[in-house]
């Protein structure tokens, strides 16, 4: 594993599904020239260096660079997070199908392995890049920066970043996004917001997906929303069904509003 630049074990691999055989990034120069072992004898004299440095300072700097990059191109970047199977990719497919005539969309797909999700997105005709994190359980700002170089999203577009399915780690890593969206589905436990408070506190919007299945499962949407707002009183909530279409209008309005906010006023 790379302890020099902090990139995840086995290096994340960025792939354009249109050109799957080519590894487009992941081999950025590291300059590990300070490696090697140290064989000093234990010396009694020591000195204390005060650092007062955020542990994730490096990621935060890279995330800020991404944010500046997005801002310069008036791109709305959204970080979509959920547990595996909540319906992130299905929601993206549906959103692209319904809005591609109106909004310019591009997708960054994050998964540990495979190009399956990127291929699903590509089938809709949308620009997409796949980041495979290998052993990594989340996307970080550096991976996204490398993904963007390959994706080349157009100015004034919306970049939807689908994070690795995981309700824990992605919450800690700023990618430079404008807003964070946590997607939950009614087939999960309604107490998820209490069990994974970090994620729900970090989010700006919660999408409650598969709402059409609510009558068939013991899931109380109101209670789930109450739990989520207990952790994050400012959380926006949209209930929808990405397959049947309920509630999608509100989600689309939310996207239109976010994209409109980035355009010059007047």
């Amino acid at each position: 594993m790379c302890t020099t630049c902090g990139c995840s074990s086995d290096d994340a691999v960025v792939t354009d599904p249109g050109r799957p055989a080519r590894v487009l990034a992941g081999d950025h120069p590291h300059g590990h020239d300070q490696g090697g072992h140290h064989h000093h004898d234990a010396e009694p004299a020591t000195r204390t260096l005060v650092l007062e440095q955020a542990v994730l300072a490096k990621n935060d700097v890279l995330a800020e660079a991404n944010r500046t990059w997005f801002r310069g191109r008036q791109i709305l970047a959204l970080n979509l997070m959920s547990s595996p199977g909540a319906g992130k990719t299905t929601l993206l497919e549906r959103t692209i199908t319904d809005l591609s005539a109106e909004l310019d969309l591009a997708v960054v797909e994050g998964d540990q392995e495979t190009l399956l999700d990127a291929e699903r997105i590509r089938a809709t005709g949308c620009k997409v890049v796949q980041i495979n994190t290998g052993a990594g359980c989340h996307l970080d700002a550096d991976m996204v920066a490398r993904g963007l170089q390959v994706l080349e999203p157009p100015a004034r577009s919306i970049v939807l970043i689908e994070n690795v399915g995981n309700l824990v780690c992605p919450a800690l890593f700023d990618l430079g996004e404008r807003a964070r969206i946590v997607i939950m589905s009614v087939t999960e436990g309604q107490d998820k917001p209490l069990k994974y408070p970090q994620m729900f506190r970090a989010a700006d919007l919660m999408i409650l997906n598969k709402i059409d299945l609510a009558p068939y499962v013991s899931f109380d949407p109101e209670r789930c929303i109450t739990y989520a707002r207990q952790v994050n009183p400012k959380l926006d909530v949209i209930s929808l069904s990405a397959t049947r279409g309920d509630g999608l209008d509100r989600w689309y309005d939310w996207l239109r509003e976010g994209a409109g906010d980035l355009l010059p006023r007047g």
């Binding site: 140290h38 204390t48 440095q53 994730l56 990594g136 780690c169 800690l172 970090q198």
Partner: protein
């Protein structure tokens, strides 16, 4: 599980600062609301520091309690975790402290 990446970040940041000086001790501040489990960082530290200037160093973690101000009644409350209520019953809390995830200092051989 993100503690692995967190620990790698600590080692990378400290290595950059100390050059080839040997590190004897690293002190971190980890807040109760940071989402990071101190025990896991301890677990990964020895594994990840191997072959770096931090190999064999002592890891000290200062536990920072969570603090919040209630937006309803104005009381200041201590938070043991993120699912907290003020004594007045409100969940609308402004976090004042406990989100720390900071490298405080390192002790190096001279």
């Amino acid at each position: 599980m993100h503690e692995l990446a967190i620990t790698e970040s600590v080692i990378s940041a400290v290595s950059e600062k100390v050059g080839d000086r040997r590190v004897q001790r690293v002190t971190l501040a980890v807040g109760r609301l940071s989402g990071v489990v101190a025990d896991s960082v301890h677990f990964y530290f020895d594994l990840c520091s191997e072959g770096t200037p931090l190999e064999g160093a002592k890891l000290e973690i200062i536990d920072i309690p969570g603090r919040a101000c209630c937006r309803e009644c104005g009381n200041e409350v201590e938070l043991v975790d993120m699912i907290a209520l003020c004594t007045c019953g409100s969940a609308d809390l402004e976090i004042l402290g406990g989100e720390d995830l900071t490298i405080k200092e390192v002790e190096v051989a001279v």
